[in-house]
């Protein structure tokens, strides 16, 4: 298997405007609706403790 071990790349085409994808990634209220529990702060950075509490991320 030649999968990279230091990076993961995923490409998906979504029928939505660019701005909506940005907002979905960076807005906590928006994130809650699809990234359950994996909250980020309002600047789009990961929470200061650097931990992801999202159960779906294992």
């Amino acid at each position: 298997m030649n999968m990279p071990t230091s990076s993961f790349v995923y490409v998906i085409y979504i029928g939505a405007p660019q701005q909506k994808v940005w907002d979905a990634l960076t807005t906590p209220e928006f994130q809650k609706q699809y990234w359950f529990g994996g909250h980020q702060d309002s600047t789009g950075r990961r929470a200061p403790n650097g931990r992801c509490s999202c159960p779906s991320m294992g």
Binding site: V9, Y13, G15
Partner: protein, 150 residues
């Protein structure tokens, strides 16, 4: 690159995913091409142009067929200029009404051009498949002159 793996979760049933891959008219609505075979082990399959020219874009042999869970085929250039690669569709019911689809395209090391082509192609096909099964809508991504990221 010898192997390409793509995982997508789709709110649908395994049977619908199976049908979407193996039914020519269904495939044409999101893949824009027909997949034609009786899908029995050992049978030939053809990926035919959806423009109804009957042109075979890719063909191959069905290696495994376990509807609606698993399909394995070879993936061959019609001119047979390179050895075939192989595509495996694993269709798992993650939860009722939610399918985890894993497409593995491997044995590509001897054909870098095909590896590059399918690395760009599968995300389009499988994004369109997800959109189509979940919303009933899919556009012809291949006709859109778009900007890819990275």
């Amino acid at each position: 690159m010898s192997r390409f793996v793509y995982v997508t979760y789709i709110y649908t049933t395994p049977q619908k995913v199976w049908d979407a891959i193996t039914t020519p008219e269904f495939a044409r609505q999101y893949w824009m091409h027909y997949n034609v075979s009786d899908w029995k082990k050992g049978s030939r399959w053809e990926h035919q142009n959806g423009d109804d020219s009957g042109k075979v874009m890719i063909d191959g042999t069905v290696l495994e067929s376990d509807p609606p869970r698993r399909l394995v085929t070879t993936w061959t250039r019609p001119d047979k200029s390179k050895e075939p690669s192989r595509v495996t569709y694993d269709i798992a019911e993650y939860n009722p009404g939610l399918v985890c689809l894993t497409v593995t395209h491997d044995e590509l090391a001897h054909d870098p051009a095909m590896a590059a082509s399918v690395s760009g192609g599968w995300p389009k096909v499988l994004s369109n498949l997800k959109s189509f099964l979940e919303t009933g809508k899919a556009e012809n991504i291949w006709l859109i002159k778009g900007k890819e990221g990275q």
